[in-house]
Amino acid sequence: MRNTLILLIIAAGGSTVALAKSSSCIDCHISSEWVTDTTIVTDFTSGDIHFKMGISCDDCHGGDPKLGLEEGDPDLAMDPRKGYKPPPSRLTTPDFCGGCHSNIEYMKKYNPRLPTDQLKLYLTSVHGKQLYDKKDTKVAVCTDCHGIHKILPSSDSRSLVYHNNVPETCRQCHGSPQYMKGYKYNGRQIPTDQYDEFSKSVHGILVLEQGDNSAPACNNCHGNHGATPPNLASVSAACGECHAYNRDFFNASPHKEPWQDLGYPECEQCHGNHFIPPVNDEMIGTGESAFCLGCHEEGDGGFAAALSIKAGIDSLKQALESAEKVVKEAEERGVEGGQARFDLGAAKDNLTRVRSVIHTFDPQQVAEITTSGMRVAHQVEQTAEAALGDIKARQIGLAISLIVVLYVAIVLWRKIKQVDSRTDFVVRGK
C-alpha cells in the first residue's frame, strides 16, 4: 500500500515525494480501513494548488503526522494537544483560509503576486456580512467557490473560479429559487434569473458560448471576494472599467446630474444589467424603440437633440452604404480597389466612434464626426465612380483594339491566300 501510494504521489509531482514519505495523513485517509471517504486524498493529490506547492495536510489542519507514522496510531497524529484543528465549520472557514492567505510574509514565499486582502474584502461583502453578523451559514464561503481539497488556481480552465466558469459557480446558489428564498435586496426578493438573463446578453454569449475571457463575468461588475450588488453610483463605474470612453462621455453629459437626482442607474437605464442585448442605432432618436422618448417629448430640447443625433448617424450610414455599393461594384468589375477600401474603412471608423460619442448627447459633437465620415465616404464613392467610368473607357478601348486586331488578321489572311496562290509548295528535284 505504502509503495503504491508513493508511486502515485511521484506521478503527481516529484517535489511532493518528501511530503508523502513523512506524512501519515495520506496513508490513513487513502485506506478504506480507516476512512469511508477516500476522495479527500485523491482530490488533493490530483492537482490541488496547495499540494503542488508542497503544502501538506498538517500545514492547514495541524497535528503531528510523523507521530502517526511512527506509532501507527492516527489519534496520535490528530491530537488537539499537538495542534490538530478539525475541519472548519462554514462559520469558521474564512478565518481558517485567511490564516495563511491574509499573511503577506507567508504568501510571498509561494506567490508574491497573489493578493492577501481576500478576507478583508470578504468581510465587506454581502456574503461576509451575512456570515459574520447574522451567523447565516447558507451564504457563500471560500470553499463554495474554490472547492475544498481540489483547489485549482483561477487561471486553470477546470477551476470553479476560472473566468468563464464563474457564472456557473455563482449560479449554484443564485440560480436556485429555493436556496435564495428569503434573501432580499432593497426590500425585494433577490431574483434568481440572473444567469438566464446573462447567458442571453452580449457579455454572456461571449463568455459562455465563445469562451472569450475578455468579456465580463459576474465578478467583473460585482467583485469576487467583496461581492456586492453595485449601487446606483457604481454601475457606471463597473461598466466604465471597459467602456471607458462611454463612461467619460456620459459623465460630462447633461444627463449625468438629472439622472442622479432622479435615481436613474446610468448605463443600466438604457442597456439593462444582466441581460444586455446587442446595441442598435434605433435605441437613440425619436423612433418607437428609442429610449429618449421615455423622458423627452416633442417640443423639448432633448427631443430635438435626439432627432438631430439620429439623423446624423443615419446620414453617415447611408453615405457608407452608398459608397460600399459603388466600391463593391468597381471591385467586381475588376478595378483594383485597395485604396478605396482603406479609405472606406476610415469612414467606417467614424461610425464606430460616433456610436460612442452619442453618450455625450451633444448634437454638435456627433455632427462633427458624422460630417467628417460622410465627407470621406463621398470622396470614396466619387473615386469608385470615376473608376467605373474608367471601366467604360477601357471597354471602348478594348472594342476599338479588337476591331483593329480583327482587321489586321483579315488583311493578313487575305495576304496569305494571295501569296499562297502564287507559290508552288511542292519541291522538285530534291
Binding site: 485604396q339 478601348g397 483594339s401 488578321a409 496569305i416 509548295f425
Partner: protein
Amino acid sequence: MAFRDRLYNWWNERVDLDNLLAFLKHKTVPHHRFSIWYYVGGMCLYLFIVQVITGILLLLYYKPTAEAAYESVQYIMTEVPFGWLVRSIHSYAANLFIGLIFVHMFSVFLMKAYRKPRELTWISGALLLFLAMGFGFSGYLLPWNQLAYLATNVGTNFAVMIPGIGQWVLEFLRGGPEVTGATLTRFFGFHVAVLPGITTAVLGLHLLFVQRLGMSVPLSIEKEIAEGKAPRREIPFVPNFLYRDILGWTLALGLIVLLSSMFPWELGEKADILKPAPPHVRPEWFFVFMYQTLKYVPKAVGVFGFGIAGAVWVLLPFFDRKSNRGEPNSLYTIIGVIAVLYMAVFTLIGYVAPGE
C-alpha cells in the same frame, strides 16, 4: 537615286544586305499536315518579347522591397496610365508563355524532332523551359501578396530535400532561413537580371540551332515522301510563313488584351507573415503536378525523382537511339503521352481534390 535606294546602299555597303535578303528569299520551311506545330515556337518567342517590353515598363514603377512592393504594384494598377493593362498583359502573357512552351516541347517530343542532328536544339529548348519556370516562380512573389508569399514559402521549402546542400540552397534562395523582404529583393534580382541574361544567351543558341538545322520533318511524313505517297512540300519563310506567324501573334495579342481588359490580373491582399496559412496553399499551376505528387511519395524521394527525371528529359535525344536512326519508336510516343496525361491528371487533382 531615291532616298530609299540610297539608304539601302548605305547599309548594303556595310552589312551586306544583298546576302541577307538572298538568304531570306531562299529560306523555306517544311509544309505538311503537322506543320501547324512549327508556329508554336515562334509564338513562344513573340510572348518572350512581350514579356521583355511589359517587364521594362513595369520596372519604371515597381519597388522591390517588402515595405513598398505591394503598394507600388497597387499604384501601377490604379494610378499609372494603362498600368493595369501592362501588368495584366505581363501576367497573362507569362502564363500563356509557359503553357505554350509545354505545348511546343511535347509537340517536338511526339514528332521526335529532337532526333539527330537536333539534339542541341532540344537541350537548349529544355533549358529554356526550366528558365521560363524560374521566371514564373520568381515573378510570382514580386507583387508581395499573401498568396504569392505562401506559395513561395511552400515552393522554396522543397529545396531542403536536395541531398547535402539542401539547407544551403534554401537559404541562398530565401536570403535567410525564412521568406522575407530579403527573398523578395533576391527574387527581383533573379527575375530582371540573372534569368533574362541567361535566357537571352540560351535563346540565342536555340534560334541559331533552329536556323542552322532547319525544321525537322516527322518520320511518318519522311516515310510517305520516301515511298512516293506524297511529294516533299515546303513553304517560303518570307513571306508565306512569316505572314502566318504574324497572324498568330496578332490574334494572341487580341486574346491577351481581351483577357486583361475584361479580367485585370488580381493583386490580392498584402503579404502578412503573421497571418496563418489558409488550407490548400498551392504553387503556380505549372508546378502543381509536382507539388501534388510530393504529397503521395516521401518528399526526399520525390524531389530526387524529379531531379533525375528532369536530367533524363534534357538528355532524352541520347537515349532514343531508334529515332536517331530514323526508325519509328512507339515506346517513346507512349512515354510522351503518359507524361502529358500524368501532368494533366495531377494538376487537375491539385485543384479539385488537393488533400492534405
